[in-house]
Amino acid sequence: MDFMSELARVIGGFIEKTGIVWTINNLFADDVWAIRNIIMIAVALLLMYLAIKKKYEPLLLLPISFGMLLVNLPLSGVMAEPHGDNIGGLLYYLFLGDELGIFPPLIFLGVGVMTDFGPLIANPKSFLLGAAAQFGIFIAFFGAIAIGFDPKIAAAIGIIGGADGPTAIYTATQLAKDYLGPIAVAAYSYMALVPIIQPPIMRALTTKKQRQVKMEQLRPVSQVEKVLFPIVVTIAVILIVPSTAPLVGMLMFGNLIKASGVTEKLAETASNSLMYIITIFLGITVGATASADKFLTVDTLSILALGLVAFACGTAAGVLFGKIMYKTSGGKINPLIGAAGVSAVPMAARVVQKVGQEENPSNFLLMHAMGPNVAGVIGSAVAAGIFLMMYGG
């Protein structure tokens, strides 16, 4: 009998410690609000559905949504800080890679290997379009300040408009750590939604005739230029905006190990195994920052709204600047390629190609759009560097 009561006590104790009982007990408890965890789990499952079924940026959305699921399952403690004998959660330690600014530049290393700057070298004027599209960043920053965000946080929110995940995460960890979850989710969701957000803006701001412009073939770019490019950009950019060194430096280093042609193995590793390893760590830990207490706030809604504003303004500014170049070039430049100035490589360039081809089936704008597209990556890294110089520790 004694044995039975002991057994019952142990089982009872175990049941008490399950997440199910905790959730039921705290469903509406003050400060805990377990109902929020349930909502967040639903959000995580929705994102998983979008990643798996709709294939929205699955490479990142899937790890992010799974991290979100893990951290919101009650009592999982995956993000718990170490205290006393408790060693802390797994994702807490992996998150240090984000927090210390290690993972995003390493992703940039891989991105650098995979990026062909050829179209940009062939047509350096594309840099202007890459710069113009960063307007969205500053508009969103301005808007965020106007609705009462701290300038640091406003800066991190603005970078969403750069349409560049690693840059947004890097800036957020440096300037607004508590907002990393919503910012990363907003950045990646909008990047996935580029084909939906951009075309209406592009059509509204251009005439049919402008969209039909066929551009001249880009000149071939020599190996020497391709090798010199990353070196020159590194020196020039970091001399002016030193705080971009981790991002631009890694991006250009990646590009150099590829372009030089003498370090194939390094390029191969950086753009495959290393990048995928980092993607796993980065994705799952970024998702894990979206815990119910930090994510389900009014601020998150503001961030999502501001992110959309940033994207739309960036696209509009790019296209409008494209129109200026259309005029100054005597109609040789198709203004649509300006929309690719928001980074989101290569999605934004593909959108340009598609919208251009709808008007003129024999028009191939893809390579022309890749110029502003990769310039946008450099542009948003520079914008991030400016914010870090202004507000960073």
Partner: protein, 112 residues
């Protein structure tokens, strides 16, 4: 508000400044391979006609095929596609014998 406006102007200004500077430097890079470009000019404007036997092609993928063929010719001639005009092209006919084709169509015919 004021802070936002200042950041807006400075930020955009610096972004433009940095990218214009790089753009100017990259523009200079062009001179590095000027000698090479002159070689390319030697194969300027070659109107190319490729017509090979048989069979009509459906209109639909024509534009795509033209692009593919043009770039293939361009890369084999070591020039760019705007130096070329593809006037016409035809699909090459089957190289198999009628016996082969009959046998294959028999083997892969639906049973239902």
């Amino acid at each position: 508000m004021k802070e936002g406006l200042i950041a807006l102007i400075c930020g955009m200004g610096i972004v433009f400044l940095v990218l214009i500077i790089i753009s100017a430097i990259i523009g200079l890079l062009k001179r590095v391979n000027k000698s090479k470009q002159e070689e390319v000019k030697a194969v300027d404007k070659i109107p190319t006609e490729i017509s090979q036997e048989d069979e009509e092609e459906d209109e639909e993928d024509d534009m795509e095929l033209v692009a593919v063929i043009t770039s293939a010719i361009a890369s084999s001639l070591n020039t760019t596609t705007d130096q070329l005009v593809v006037r016409s092209f035809r699909r090459v006919g089957h190289t198999q014998s009628k016996w082969n084709m009959t046998a294959r169509s028999d083997a892969t015919r639906s049973m239902y």
